[in-house]
């Protein structure tokens, strides 16, 4: 199955590429907006700052390319900051809007537990992305920001209150955790995405 992985400099694309290949994806790793605009299945990775990552998408016009392919029926998976970029905006960077493919806003994890969240956390999930995954399976998270109670939430976890661990609206998916670091469970999520048709 063909998957187009966006080679963002604000991401750990190499690790995600390795995991996607491991689950059988035929991978095109690219920064070419035209290739992304015509892709059938896209993965948007991201780590670090929401603002820097979004800025890069805007400068390269990959933001428009993603919107265009999604409008044409492409499948899309955002990972970590890539997941956050799917939403309308972030508290982290008030001047930068997200892609706006999903409703909701990214906010800082405030509360008694230390931020960032670093480590495994149990996820209550449903839907095709989590097919074959037992309830309360743990995934690996590294994040200071999250969406809480997203409209399109399909998985949630608890950290200073409940937050959206994964979201799905039609063919647009996002996961806040790192599937490429979540051992067998993470690979299963990627395999499920690769198998979507």
């Amino acid at each position: 199955m063909n998957v187009t992985l966006i080679d963002s400099p604000y991401s750990n694309a190499a690790n995600i590429a390795r995991a996607l290949r491991h689950v059988g994806a035929d991978l095109d790793v690219t920064r070419d907006a035209d290739a992304i605009a015509s892709a059938a299945k896209i993965v948007l990775p991201g780590v670090g700052s929401f603002g820097a990552a979004m800025q890069w998408l805007v400068e390269t016009r990959i933001n428009d390319a993603i919107r265009k392919s999604v409008a044409n029926g492409a499948w899309l998976l955002g990972i970590c900051v890539g997941h956050q970029l799917l939403f309308e905006g972030s508290e982290e960077m008030t001047t930068t809007c997200g892609l706006g493919l999903l409703r909701g806003e990214v906010r800082r994890f405030d509360g008694p537990l230390p931020v960032p969240q670093i480590g495994w956390n149990r996820v209550a999930s449903r839907g095709e992305l989590f097919d074959g995954i037992a309830p309360e399976t743990a995934f690996y998270f590294v994040n200071s920001y999250a969406v809480r109670g997203a409209h399109a939430e399909v998985a949630s976890a608890e950290y200073n209150g409940s937050f959206t661990a994964a979201a799905q609206q039609e063919r647009v998916f996002g996961v806040q955790f790192h599937p490429e670091k979540s051992s067998a469970a993470g690979l299963r999520v990627l395999r499920n995405f690769v198998a979507c048709n």
Partner: protein
């Protein structure tokens, strides 16, 4: 599990005694002022001990209890209750429940009369235990009743909850008596209000995980701000939400896994990629690679090993050894590490922690601290434990946290390679003052060691090298054991 702030009253003021000795009384002030300062929420349970009454046998601080009960607090009060009349005086003051000590152990007739008069739900039997023996009367002499007998009698009275204090642990903040509460779990259906030794948020979480502890009384730790009530309440609300981690460590030299005792006598033990794959298969939550030769040899043999291992696993990888500056840190990340541990270089130049945190994020920065016991404290060491510094290890960990370390890998140099158990005292000393997580390292020898490092030590992860490498225990066995003991792990 409920958290019950505890105030010991003497001469109208809040005090704390150590080992029940009146001479050691430390004064904290007026009760209302203390409660306000602690931000005790409305509707909370409150545990009041009338110390003078516990010694003389008659209620003294009745006026204070009356005032506190009016503040929307659910007050349980103890001390000096040796007759139905005493108990009635407290109830008349507005106490919701009365804590009955002496009579519980030695006066079954009075205890029965109290239950009959006020109802089992208004009686909190208090049992003081030292070395498995029930003690009474202001801790001055031993009672004769056995724990079995006392708890069987409590059950027959319909008592649902009893306050159990391990008085050897009380007020010294070395941790609650998890072993005692575990023992009681198999001895009685009565739920336990744990008391004594609670000094960290980790203690409270560990108590909640035991299952038979319905509440916990917190005294000195709250008064001395070792523990934040809101944070503890948040952690206790979901004590099993976040799994604790089991981390195998590969000590690597020149691209081969090696092992040694107390950082010396090193011998070859295998291929890192093979080991890493096996560990992920067994359920390792993370992998640590420590290049133990790098700092000395001044060359970066680790990078190639990291690249090979990172390309063969799908769990987080932490790498340490030989990280001298931001550039070597970056090289490790580029090679596939998720996090990088810095040790000697950070001691030489602490700003390196801040520089790396600013460049790569705090989640990427682990401070590796090799601590050696010297007298009553621990000193940080450099060069894999070979060189002692003047830095207090705990102060150093705190400073690293402030500089931007995301986690501490804390190794006991004394225990490393001895299989004699993690240094729980060292772990407690660190976890009681740090907000960030601590990975326990050095000394793992048997299953209980892993439990104790998390339960008593407050570690958020446990690490072992040779034990896993030699298959004395597998990662899977450790995780299954921890789960049986009520500690959440990823399965």
């Amino acid at each position: 599990m409920q958290l019950i702030p505890s105030l010991d009253l003497l001469n109208g003021r809040v005090v704390r005694l150590t080992h029940g000795d009146f001479e050691t009384a430390k004064v904290y002030g007026e009760p209302e002022a203390v409660l306000d300062a602690l931000e005790v929420p409305r509707g909370a349970r409150l545990h009041i001990v009338d110390l003078e009454a516990s010694r003389t046998g008659a209620p003294v601080e009745t006026e204070i209890v009356r005032r506190l009960a009016r503040r929307d607090l659910v007050v349980q009060v103890g001390g000096g209750i040796r007759s139905v009349g005493d108990a009635r005086r407290w109830i008349d003051c507005g106490a919701e429940r009365i804590v009955v000590g002496t009579a519980t152990a030695v006066d079954p007739e009075l205890f029965a009369k109290l239950v009959e008069t006020f109802g089992a739900h208004r009686i909190v039997p208090a049992v003081d235990v030292r070395d498995g023996v029930i003690r009474i009367a202001g801790w001055q002499r031993d009672a004769t009743a056995s724990m079995q007998d006392v708890f069987a009698r409590l059950e027959s009275h319909g008592i649902g909850e009893a306050l159990v204090t391990d008085i050897s642990k009380d007020g010294v903040m070395r941790g609650p008596s998890f072993a005692l509460y575990r023992q009681l779990r198999s001895l009685t259906r009565v739920r336990i209000i744990a008391s004594g030794g609670v000094s960290t948020t980790g203690d409270v979480v560990s108590l909640a995980r035991l299952g038979n502890v319905s509440a916990c009384v917190i005294g000195r730790a709250l008064l001395e701000r070792k523990l934040d009530l809101a944070e503890a309440a948040a952690r206790v609300a979901t004590p099993n939400a976040i799994p604790e981690r089991v981390i195998p460590c590969l000590d690597v030299r020149d691209g081969r896994v090696v092992k040694g005792i107390a950082f010396t006598n090193i011998r070859d033990a295998g291929d890192p990629v093979e080991c890493a794959r096996r560990y992920e298969e067994e359920g390792a939550d993370e992998l640590v690679i420590l290049d133990i030769s790098a700092t000395d040899r001044r060359e970066n043999t680790a990078v190639e090993t990291v690249r090979r291992v990172a390309a063969s696993i799908f769990i987080p990888l932490t790498v340490g050894g030989g990280v001298r500056d931001v550039e070597t840190f970056r090289a490790m990340l580029r090679a596939g590490a998720d996090r990088v541990a810095i040790n000697t270089a950070a001691i030489r130049r602490p700003e390196l922690i801040a520089d790396c945190a600013a460049e790569f994020g705090v989640q990427a920065v682990v401070l590796s601290c090799d601590a050696k016991r010297v007298g009553e404290r621990w000193l940080a060491t450099m060069r894999s434990g070979k060189e002692l510094t003047a830095l207090d290890a705990i102060d150093w960990c705190r400073r690293a946290e402030n500089l931007g370390a995301g986690e501490i890998l804390l190794t006991s140099v004394d225990r490393d390679g001895t299989n004699s158990g993690f240094d729980v005292d060292l772990l407690r000393a660190a976890t009681s003052v740090l907000k960030i997580g601590v990975i326990a390292s050095g000394g793992a020898g048997k299953l209980e060691d892993f439990r104790d490092a998390i339960e008593s030590g407050g570690a958020r992860a446990v690490l072992a090298a040779s034990l896993f490498h030699d298959r004395v225990l597998t990662v899977g066995e450790v995780k299954r054991y921890l789960e049986e003991e009520g500690i959440p792990v990823r399965t």
